[in-house]
C-alpha cells in the first residue's frame, strides 16, 4: 500500500473526527470567558501599540461582517457572494449624508442599517426563489453592480473611483477618535449583535432558518413560510453589514469603491466556512484567522496571498466542517435558557392534551378532504387524470395502486407542492387548491415523505419543534426581547414536542442528531414531526417501507391510537397487511385514475383491482 495515502487517510480521519466530538460544556464556557477577557483588556496592555489595536479594530469589522453573512449563509444556507455590496451601501449612505448634511455618525448608524436592509429587500425579493448556485451568481452580480455604480459616480453622489473624503468621526458622550476608542466602539456593537443573534438562534425564527437550510421542501411542507424567512435573513444580514459600513467609513474618514471588491466578498464567505456554518464563536475565529494571517505572513510580502489560497484549500480538505462547528443544544439546555419564572409557571400549561383547540373538533364536516376532478400532467404525461375522492374525518383511508399510479403526485397536490391544472381540492369545506404548502400545513394537513426528509444535522427535538412552528406567533421583536408571550410559547412548544417524541417512542433520542438515527426511527421521527403540527389530517407516504414485521405492527398500533385520539389519516401503502389491519376505506389508483374504492376485503375481490395490482401477488 501507498504509505503517504495511508498516513493521509489517517490524518483526514482524525481531522474529521475531532470536528464531530463536542468540547465539554465547561471547557467551552472557559474558552469563551477567556476570549472575552482577552478582547476586553487587549488594548489596555502597555506593549500593544496602535498598529495592533487597529488590527483588532479590523478584526472587529470582519467579525461583524462575518456574523452578518453567517445569518444568510450559515443559518439559512443561502450562497451569498456579494455581501460586500450591502456593506458598501451602509458605508456610502453614511459618507454621503454625513458630508452633505453633517448628520452625526452614530445617528447614521441605524439609517445605514435600514438603507442596506431595504436595498437587500429590493434586490433579493425578485430572486429569492432561486436555488444554490443560481442565487450565488445573482449575489455576485448585485455586489458588482453596487461597486460599478459607485465607480461611475451617478449624479455626482459617490465621488467616482476616488470615493468620498472628509467623513466626521463619531461621538458617544465623548468624541471617538483614537484607535482604542474605535476598538471599543466596534466590539461593543459586536457584543450587542451577538447577544441578539444568540437569542434568535434559540427562537422559533432561528430554528426556521435552520430547517430551510437543512431541507427547504420539508420546511415548507411543515408550515414554514420559506420565502419570508429567507428574505428576513437577507434584510437582517444586510442591515448588520450596513452598520459595519457606517463604523468603517468613520474610522477611515473616507470611502472608495476598491474596499468592496468580489475578493472581499469571497473572504467573508471563507470566514463563515472556516468557522463553521451557523456557529457564532466559529465566525469570530474565522475572522481572526483572516485578519491575522496576512500579519503573520507579512515577511513573505507578495507571496502571502498565495499561501492564503493554499491555506483555504488545506482547511477544506482537513476540516470541512470548520474550526468550531455549531453545536446543537440539548432539550435540557433549551429549557434552562427560558426565563425561570416561565418555567415555574409551566404547571398551568401542562393541561394541554395535544388536541387542537383552535380548530373545530374533527368530524364537523363529514368529508374532511374532497377532491373534484383533479388533473396534473408533466409534459404531456398525465400523472393524475381526473381524480374524485372524499376522505372522511375520523377514519384511516389508504391509497393503493401499482408503482407509477400517481399516488405520490396526488399527495403533492393535496399538500400544495404541485398546483392542480384543473379541478379543486377542498379541506374542511375550504378550497385549498393552488395555496402554498406552508399555508396548507397551517390549515391542519401534515405529511411525511416517501424518501424520508428529516433535518439531518439537527437534534430529534429540534426536528419535532419544526412542526410546532406554525402554531407559534413570536417573530423577530418578540424573540429578541424575550416577550413573556414568547417565553410562554417556547415552553409550550418544547413541552408539546417532547410529548410528540414520546408518542413516537423516541423519548430516549431527544438530543441525538437525526442523521445518527437508524432508518426505522427516522420514519417515526417524521411522524412525530407531523404530529407536532397538531394536524387534523395526517398524510403518510409509505410509512412502512423499510420496516420489518415487528416494526410494522408497532406502526399499526401507533396509527390506530392516533385515530383513537381523533386524527384522520390518509396513507399510501404497499404493505397489504398494514392496509388490511388499519384502514377503514381503500382507494385504488392506476395510471392517474381511481379504479375502485371500498373496504379492503371487497377490493381483494374486485376484478379491476386484481388485474391492476393484487393479481401480480398471486402469480
Amino acid at each position: 500500500m501507498n504509505i503517504t495515502k495511508t498516513v493521509l487517510d489517517y490524518v483526514l480521519a482524525a481531522g474529521r473526527d475531532k470536528g464531530k466530538r463536542p468540547l465539554p460544556d465547561r471547557k467551552r464556557q472557559g474558552l469563551l470567558t477567556a476570549a472575552i477577557v482577552v478582547i476586553a483588556i487587549l488594548p489596555l496592555l502597555p506593549f500593544i501599540d496602535n498598529y495592533w489595536i487597529d488590527i483588532g479594530f479590523y478584526f472587529g469589522i470582519y467579525t461583524l461582517l462575518g456574523l452578518s453573512l453567517n445569518i444568510v449563509l450559515g443559518e439559512v444556507g443561502l450562497f451569498d457572494l456579494g455581501h460586500m455590496g450591502f456593506y458598501a451601501i451602509g458605508a456610502y449612505v453614511t459618507a454621503i449624508l454625513n458630508t452633505s448634511f453633517h448628520i452625526p455618525i452614530l445617528a447614521l448608524l441605524p439609517i445605514s442599517a435600514l438603507a442596506a436592509g431595504l436595498f437587500a429587500w429590493m434586490v433579493t425579493a425578485p430572486v429569492i426563489h432561486l436555488k444554490g448556485d443560481y442565487l450565488c451568481i445573482v449575489t455576485i452580480g448585485i455586489g458588482e453592480i453596487v461597486r460599478l455604480t459607485m465607480i461611475n459616480n451617478p449624479f455626482g453622489l459617490t465621488g467616482g473611483p476616488n470615493g468620498i473624503n472628509g467623513i466626521d468621526t463619531p461621538a458617544f458622550i465623548v468624541p471617538i477618535v483614537s484607535s482604542r476608542q474605535f476598538y471599543y466602539l466596534i466590539w461593543a456593537l459586536i457584543a450587542i449583535v451577538i447577544f441578539g443573534l444568540v437569542r434568535l438562534q434559540r427562537s422559533r425564527v432561528g430554528r426556521a432558518w435552520n430547517y430551510i437550510r437543512e431541507d427547504e421542501v420539508a420546511a415548507e411542507a411543515l408550515g414554514i413560510n420559506v420565502r419570508h424567512y429567507k428574505l428576513a435573513a437577507f434584510v437582517l444580514g444586510a442591515g448588520i453589514a450596513g452598520m459595519a459600513g457606517n463604523i468603517y467609513a468613520s474610522k477611515q474618514m473616507s470611502v472608495s469603491p476598491e474596499s468592496f471588491t468580489f475578493m472581499e466578498s469571497s473572504l467573508l464567505f471563507c470566514i463563515v466556512l472556516l468557522g463553521g456554518l451557523g456557529s457564532i464563536p466559529g465566525t469570530v475565529l474565522g475572522a481572526l484567522a483572516i485578519t491575522i494571517f496576512p500579519e503573520i505572513f507579512r515577511p513573505l510580502a507578495q507571496y502571502r496571498l498565495m499561501f492564503f489560497g493554499l491555506a483555504l484549500l488545506v482547511m477544506m480538505i482537513f476540516k470541512p466542517a470548520g474550526l468550531m462547528p455549531r453545536q446543537r443544544e440539548s432539550g435540557e439546555k433549551l429549557r434552562s435558557a427560558l426565563s425561570k419564572k416561565r418555567r415555574e409557571a409551566k404547571g398551568r400549561l401542562t393541561g394541554d392534551d395535544g388536541c387542537r383547540k383552535d380548530m373545530p373538533p374533527p368530524g364537523r364536516a363529514e368529508n374532511l378532504l374532497e377532491l373534484k376532478d383533479v388533473h396534473l400532467s408533466f409534459g404531456g404525461v398525465s400523472a393524475v387524470a381526473g381524480i374524485d375522492a372524499e376522505i372522511e374525518a375520523g377514519k384511516i383511508t389508504a391509497l393503493i395502486g401499482p408503482n407509477g399510479a400517481g399516488k405520490t403526485t396526488l399527495f403533492n397536490l393535496i399538500t400544495g407542492i404541485y398546483k392542480p391544472q384543473a379541478g379543486s381540492i377542498h379541506f374542511n369545506g375550504e378550497d385549498i387548491s393552488g395555496q402554498s404548502p406552508h399555508a396548507i400545513a397551517g390549515k391542519g394537513i401534515a405529511r411525511t415523505f416517501q424518501n424520508i426528509r428529516v433535518f439531518p444535522s439537527l437534534t430529534c427535538l429540534e426536528n419535532v419543534l419544526s412542526g410546532q412552528h406554525c402554531r407559534g406567533k413570536a417573530e423577530f421583536t418578540a424573540s429578541l426581547l424575550h416577550f413573556p408571550s414568547q417565553q410562554d410559547e417556547e415552553t409550550q412548544m418544547l413541552d408539546f414536542s417532547l410529548r410528540c417524541l414520546d408518542r413516537a417512542g423516541l423519548s430516549d433520542s431527544t438530543d441525538k442528531l437525526a442523521a445518527s438515527l437508524p432508518y426505522g426511527k427516522r420514519r417515526y421521527l417524521e411522524i412525530a414531526r407531523a404530529l407536532a403540527l397538531r394536524p387534523e389530517l395526517i398524510v403518510l407516504d409509505e410509512p412502512s417501507s423499510g420496516l420489518n414485521d415487528a416494526e410494522t405492527e408497532e406502526l399499526a398500533q401507533l396509527l390506530l391510537s392516533l385515530l383513537h385520539d381523533g386524527l384522520s389519516i390518509l396513507l399510501i401503502e404497499h404493505d397489504m397487511y398494514l392496509v388490511d389491519r388499519v384502514s377503514d376505506h381503500v382507494i385504488v389508483m392506476q395510471s392517474g385514475k381511481k379504479i375502485a374504492e371500498g373496504k379492503m376485503c371487497d377490493m381483494r375481490k374486485n376484478p379491476l383491482v386484481i388485474e391492476a395490482y393484487l393479481g401480480t401477488e398471486e402469480d
Binding site: 450565488c136 451568481i137 453592480i145 465607480i151 475578493m263 464567505f269 472556516l274 489560497g309
Partner: protein, 303 residues
C-alpha cells in the same frame, strides 16, 4: 450601418473569448455541479504562458516556424500546459474536497483562484505586460466600408473551429454521450458503467485548455495582459454560461457570442462605463424569467 457592423464584429471577437471560457465553466458545472472559480485564472495563465513563449524567446518560435506556424505552435503548447494545470487543479483542490459537500467546494475553488492569481503575480509581476507588437502585423481589410483586422478573422476562425470540434465531441461521439450522461446524473452514469473519473479528467483538461487558448488570443488581440484580469473575464464568461443555459454546450457558445455583441453595442451606443452594470442586470433578469437560460431545459425537483 458601418459602425453597427464593426461593433458587431468587435462583439463577436470578444464574444468568442467568452464563449471559449464559458465552455469550460459549463462542462465542469455539468459534471461536478461546481462553479470553477479558478477557471478565469487559468485563462490568465494561458495569456501569460503565450506571452512568455512569444516575447521572451525573442522571436525564436516565429523565426523557425513562420508567423502563423509560430502562433499555432504557441497555441498548442499553451493549450496543453493549461490543460495540464486544469487537471492538477481538479486533483489538488476538488477531488479531496468533493465528499465534504458543495459549500466546501466553493471555498476551495475560491482558494485555488486566489492561489493561481497570486502565483501568476509572483512569477510575472504585478504590472501589466504587453505582447510584442511585431508578432501579428497590423493588417486589415475594408469590406463595404467595414474595417476588419486579419487578427479578428483569425480569432473568429480558430474559435469557431474549436467550438465546432467540442460540439462534435460532446454531441456526436460515444464519449460525448458519457459526458452528457454524467452531467445529467452522475450516480446513475456510474451505475451503467461510465467511468466518471475519465469524464472529469476530460472536462478538466479540455475546458482549461480552451480557456488557455482564449487567453492567448485575448493577449494577441488587446496586447496588454495583467495577473488579475481572469476574474473579470471569468465572471463575464460565467454570465454567458447562465445566459445560454448552464451545463448546455451549444448554450455556452451562444451565450458567449450574444454577450460579446451585446457588450460591444452597449459600449458603442449607450455608455462604456455602464456596460458592465447592464451585463449584470441582464444576468439577473435572465435568471428571474428564464433561470434555465436560452437553450436550457426545464428540470423538476423530485419530491
Amino acid at each position: 450601418m458601418t459602425l453597427l457592423l464593426e461593433q458587431i464584429i468587435n462583439g463577436l471577437t470578444i464574444g468568442s473569448f467568452y464563449a471559449l471560457v464559458a465552455l469550460g465553466y459549463s462542462m465542469v458545472y455539468g459534471v461536478m455541479k461546481l462553479i470553477n472559480f479558478a477557471h478565469g485564472d487559468l485563462f490568465t495563465l494561458g495569456a501569460f504562458l503565450g506571452y512568455t513563449i512569444l516575447a521572451s524567446t525573442s522571436g525564436v518560435v516565429t523565426q523557425n516556424f513562420g508567423m502563423w506556424g509560430g502562433i499555432a505552435f504557441t497555441a498548442a503548447i499553451v493549450g496543453m500546459s493549461v490543460a495540464l494545470a486544469g487537471i492538477l487543479v481538479e486533483r489538488i483542490a476538488y477531488r479531496p474536497v468533493y465528499p465534504s459537500g458543495r459549500l466546501s467546494l466553493v471555498v476551495s475553488a475560491l482558494g485555488m483562484s486566489i492561489f493561481l492569481q497570486n502565483s501568476i503575480m509572483a512569477i510575472w509581476g504585478a504590472r501589466p505586460r504587453a505582447f510584442p507588437s511585431a508578432v501579428v502585423p497590423y493588417a486589415r481589410f475594408v469590406i463595404f466600408g467595414v474595417h476588419v483586422t486579419v487578427l479578428q478573422i483569425i480569432i473568429l476562425a480558430v474559435s469557431f473551429i474549436l467550438m465546432a470540434a467540442i460540439w462534435f465531441i460532446v454531441e456526436k461521439t460515444a464519449f460525448g454521450a458519457s459526458v452528457r450522461a454524467s452531467a445529467l446524473d452522475r450516480e446513475t452514469a456510474t451505475l451503467i458503467g461510465i467511468d466518471v473519473r475519465k469524464v472529469i479528467f476530460f472536462v478538466f483538461a479540455l475546458g482549461p485548455g480552451l480557456g488557455g487558448v482564449a487567453g492567448l488570443m485575448n493577449g494577441l488581440y488587446y496586447r496588454s495582459i495583467s495577473f488579475n484580469m481572469g476574474w473579470n473575464y471569468g465572471l463575464k464568461a460565467f454570465t454567458a454560461t447562465i445566459l445560454g443555459g448552464i451545463g448546455n454546450i451549444p448554450g455556452a457558445m451562444l451565450g458567449g457570442l450574444l454577450l460579446g455583441i451585446f457588450e460591444s453595442l452597449l459600449a458603442g451606443y449607450v455608455s462604456g462605463a455602464w456596460k458592465d452594470v447592464f451585463v449584470f442586470i441582464i444576468l439577473i433578469v435572465t435568471l428571474i424569467f428564464r433561470p434555465t437560460g436560452i437553450l436550457g431545459e426545464k428540470t423538476a425537483e423530485k419530491v
